[in-house]
């Protein structure tokens, strides 16, 4: 469970989420951020709950899936580690559009999505839900409080979590390769 939580934290990368929007005051709209967080968490939990049927539908064994999932997580982590966070965007005026943007692509990262299915299939939806909700909620808090956080610290955190995602991704891939 602890590993799953750490995995989701690294795969969502709350620091990268916090840097996703520019630091202006026009969009202090907690309802939009909360809506985005809820939407992202719901998608991740739904994916975890549907993990087994999804793998069956894809005709892919859990081990094979985890091998690929690990590669996705590691590549996403490497990108954060090497290139840092994606340049920030200007917030849209429309509340619903802001919520949608917070959900995707800010919180629903490739790593978080593939990890949801993996953890859901291996440990069940509850384990995945706890990890995913914690990570996404933390990212939402970071996104809302972004102006009060030292920018340099956040940039460093993005790379640190990227490194963690890389390591976790490699571990997931190796474990997947070894899963019968």
């Amino acid at each position: 469970m602890t590993l799953a939580i750490l995995g989701f934290l690294a795969a969502v990368n709350p620091a990268a989420a916090a840097l996703a929007l520019v630091r202006d005051r026009r969009t202090d709209r907690p309802r939009s951020v909360v809506a985005g967080v809820v939407l992202a968490a719901a998608v991740l939990v739904a994916l975890a709950a549907a993990a087994d049927p999804l793998l069956d539908l894809a005709d892919v064994n859990l081990g094979t899936y985890r091998l690929g999932a690990g590669v996705v997580i590691a590549v996403a982590g490497l990108r954060w580690l090497v290139a840092g966070a994606v340049p920030a965007c200007e917030e849209p005026d429309d509340d619903r559009r802001l919520a949608g943007f917070v959900a995707f692509p800010v919180l629903l990262t490739p790593g978080a999505v593939v990890l949801s299915v993996s953890v859901g299939a291996e440990h069940g939806a509850l384990g995945a839900a706890i990890g995913a909700v914690l990570a996404v909620a933390l990212a939402g808090v970071g996104l809302y409080l972004r102006r009060s956080m030292p920018h340099l610290l956040m940039i460093g955190l993005v790379r640190l979590l990227g490194a963690a995602a890389t390591v976790i991704g490699v571990a997931v891939a190796v474990d997947g390769a070894r899963t019968l």
Partner: protein, 383 residues
């Protein structure tokens, strides 16, 4: 950057990424259905190829290129012993029809025995006796003994066992060659195949003659395989998928395996399972492009042998109990895919092709050997 363009770019990147993953690592695994009777039939068709192409003197057709319609004329004593062993496995599995061919293959081997420096006997037709040839002769004799309860070759089995022990080094590794004239092992030459073959032979020798102490060298070699061999040989990824080691582990299971042996067994099972899964991905419409051509029939057969030989461990040893069902699924999948690639013995197909597996238009005797053994040993998991 505005939100819309970033979201759009992310969507495009996701779509491309998903497509690449689906074509490669997440390609669908295709495991056709197969029932026990079909797998048994495929195994016997493979054995039929061996028997139909056996010569009067007991030797077998070594290989056949269907494009050129000819054999290379090569021969290999280790493979001869392996093919004979496989025929005895089939006899043990109830296919008594193959006993005569196996006996003729055995007679060909017993005409090529040489005394070794340490009081053993080696199967060879040159001055450098190969460990694997004698090991697989001993395994053939052990399979024969189990199938027929006939003790007439017991003395030969013991002499062969003594030769194997002569080849063993202190650390449990085995030297591959024995200089018949000098009466001593050739130092410094090892073989990735022969060590496992020798271990299985020693294990079977101990099962047949428990009073002769073949278990002690067997444990030593199993320790070497479990802890050191793959590192020393520089294999990557590890462990090397050694079906001979798998046979040995299956045979020695009832002796009481230590934790490091069980860990090795687990790693081997995982490795075989991964290879079977990868092969199953070749079954998709684009699998042969993204995953390369299907391997030799003999290659797939060795994976099945490895999985099947250790399957009993997943039932009897609680340390491996979690692998029972996955091993059965992998076996069933591999057996189905292997049987599906066999040349069917229908009218108009030559006896050099019927029942064989071809790779680049070439089949070799050990393709049929390993496929027959693997399919036979997979039967218990099939419906």
């Amino acid at each position: 950057m505005i939100v819309r363009s970033r979201t759009g770019r992310a969507l495009v990147a996701w779509a491309i990424g998903a497509a690449v993953m689906r074509l490669t690592l997440w390609a669908p695994e295709v495991c056709p259905p197969i029932v026990r009777s079909e797998a048994r039939l495929a195994a016997t068709h493979a054995a039929d190829w061996i028997v139909a192409n056996q010569r009067e003197d007991g030797s077998f057709l070594y290989d056949f290129h269907r494009g050129r319609g000819e054999s290379s004329g090569d021969y290999n004593l280790v493979r001869h012993a392996g093919v004979t062993m496989s025929l005895y496995q089939l006899v043990r599995g109830g296919e008594l029809l193959y006993l005569d061919a196996a006996e003729r293959g055995l007679a060909w081997m017993t005409q090529r025995l040489q005394p070794t420096g340490g009081g053993g006997v080696a199967f060879t037709d040159t001055d450098d006796a190969k460990l694997g040839a004698s090991a697989l002769l001993l395994v053939s004799l052990a399979q024969r003994r189990l199938a027929t309860s006939d003790p007439q070759h017991d003395e030969l089995m013991q002499d062969l066992g003594r030769f194997l022990v002569e080849q063993q080094r202190e650390d449990g590794s085995m030297l591959n060659l024995h200089d018949i004239e000098a009466g001593a092992p050739v130092p410094g030459v090892t073989s990735v195949f022969a060590t496992g073959e020798a271990l299985w032979a020693l294990a079977l020798a101990h099962e047949a003659f428990p009073q002769l102490g073949f278990d002690e060298p067997a444990w030593r070699t199993l320790d070497h395989l479990s802890l050191a061999r793959d590192l020393e040989e520089g294999f990557f990824p590890q462990p090397w998928p050694d079906q001979w080691a798998a046979y040995s582990l299956g045979e020695m299971a009832e002796w009481g395996l230590a934790d490091h042996h069980v860990t090795y067994a687990r790693r081997l099972l995982e490795r075989f399972g991964m290879i079977v899964r990868f092969d199953a991905q070749r079954g998709s419409r684009y699998g042969s492009i993204t995953h390369g051509p299907a391997p030799r029939g003999g290659g797939v057969g060795t994976w099945l042998e490895g999985l099947a030989a250790m399957r009993p461990l997943t039932i009897t040893d609680e340390r491996l109990a979690d692998l029972e069902r996955p091993v059965e699924e992998a076996l069933a999948c591999g057996a189905a895919r292997l049987a599906g690639r066999q040349v069917e013995p229908v009218a108009g197909v030559s006896e050099q092709e019927a029942g064989a597996w071809f790779y680049d238009d070439l089949t070799r005797m050990d393709d049929q050997q390993h496929a027959a053994s693997g399919l036979l040993l997979s039967l218990p998991v099939l419906p």
